[in-house]
């Protein structure tokens, strides 16, 4: 795998597009969001490098949440879906070798976690986590069940839209990103204070996966497409000029 394609400084993060630290309708940010201005400086080797994640670390079922926690012969309960897409950078280049980790509630909206108190039942065959590593073209896919919406303690009647959390680890620590994928047509999306931390409809749309009938497996699973964009690196890597422009 040629993961040496890119090298060099990362494009500065667009803070006018990314959510602010302090977003009072999402109450927890009020005491957890830093107040001072961020310190800006160009990326250095500390931010332009990253650990290497190889395909060899993956187990066969790591990206199949319907089976990776299930008893033999059983599978998780809920609408079967495939989520697929590409991890790209801002220049549109696929980012191979990216570690993509995902986690979600079960079909009833319940997480498998000690501190989770929602009364919806656990599914004994569903753990709720998976991972994969992007292919040469940046593509990835996973199989899971569609998570349910669930209530959360914020306002008195706040519900999260159905969502899958994504953690993405690209080629530089500067690209590190955690985000959430929402599902096309979910009426909870415009009501949610966490979605509301996004600054524009365009940003909400960027996290909303469309139903993808081209990738739906007939009589098996529907499919949703979710592309992820990481910060771009300024130049293409040249074998004879490793230090770049």
């Amino acid at each position: 795998m040629n993961i040496l394609k890119q090298n060099g400084g990362f494009v500065p993060r667009d803070r006018s597009w990314q959510p602010d630290a302090m977003t009072p309708p999402y109450k927890t940010t009020v005491k957890r969001g830093p107040h001072a201005a961020l310190l800006s400086f160009p990326t250095t080797l500390s931010e332009e490098t990253s650990p290497v994640f190889g395909q060899s670390m993956l187990g066969e079922l790591d990206n199949d949440l319907t089976l990776n926690f299930a008893q033999p012969g059983e599978s998780a309960i809920g609408p079967r879906i495939i989520v697929h897409g590409r991890v790209l950078d801002e220049m549109g280049r696929g980012v191979p070798g990216t570690l993509v980790e995902f986690w979600q509630a079960n079909a009833g909206g319940r997480y498998r976690h000690k501190k989770e108190g929602y009364l919806a039942p656990l599914d004994p065959n569903f753990g709720g986590c998976g991972r994969t590593i992007t292919a040469e073209d940046g593509s990835y896919e996973l199989r899971t069940i569609q998570p349910g919406p669930y209530p959360w303690p914020n306002g008195m009647n706040d519900w999260r839209p159905a969502h899958i959390h994504f953690s993405i680890f690209g080629h530089g620590f500067a690209q590190r990103l955690i985000t959430q994928m929402y599902f096309e047509g979910d009426p909870h999306i415009p009501l949610c204070p966490i979605v509301g931390t996004l600054k524009s409809q365009e940003a909400v749309d960027a996290l909303t996966a469309p139903l993808d009938m081209h990738r739906t497996v007939p009589m098996d699973s529907r499919a949703y497409k979710f592309d992820i964009v990481l910060r771009g690196q300024r130049q293409t890597y040249f074998e004879n000029r490793k230090e770049g422009l």
Partner: protein, 204 residues
Amino acid sequence: MVQELNYHKESPSQTAGPYVHIGCMPNFSGIEIYGGDLGTSMKTGPVKGTEIVIKGTVFDGTGTPLRDAMIEIWQPDAAGLFASANETRGEADPNFTGWGRSPGDMQTGEFTFDTVKPGAVPWPDGRMQAPHVTAWIVARGINIGLHTRIYFEDEESANAADPILSRIEHQNRVPTLLARKEGEGVYRFDVHLQGPNETIFFDM
């Protein structure tokens, strides 16, 4: 009219939420899978250099420790080389990954990294930066992961010459970036999200 630049926008960040450990450290949260969690050990054998422990706690604006955060660190080996595919200056210590992930203690929130004292890494113009560890913090209530750096209080001359530390306008905030020596080989780096001791976070 001009040509379109056709760049993509970076995917917007969303909070890691209260259950980030399910996704990134499932075994810690009681889901036995993958044969173990990534990033729990930064050493795969005997390492070169000085072995150290970095401990700390993340505090919110009321002084309450966060018990649902995840902290990642990334650093070079003792010689200043990264175990990265795009490290072009030499071969890093093969027994040191440079990358650690800590969920914090479930009761106290304290995070711990068993690592090595990092070597120095150059600034783009060739000057050396003071030894440092890059850190990234995510949690419920943090809308976009917070980048900061862990420098070491016992590297006084290197810190004084560091291109970043020396250009920080409010020099009285620089100590928020310094790990304090707590004992032989043990450093403490507490993170304050708000308040008079708010940690300097980087636009990274």
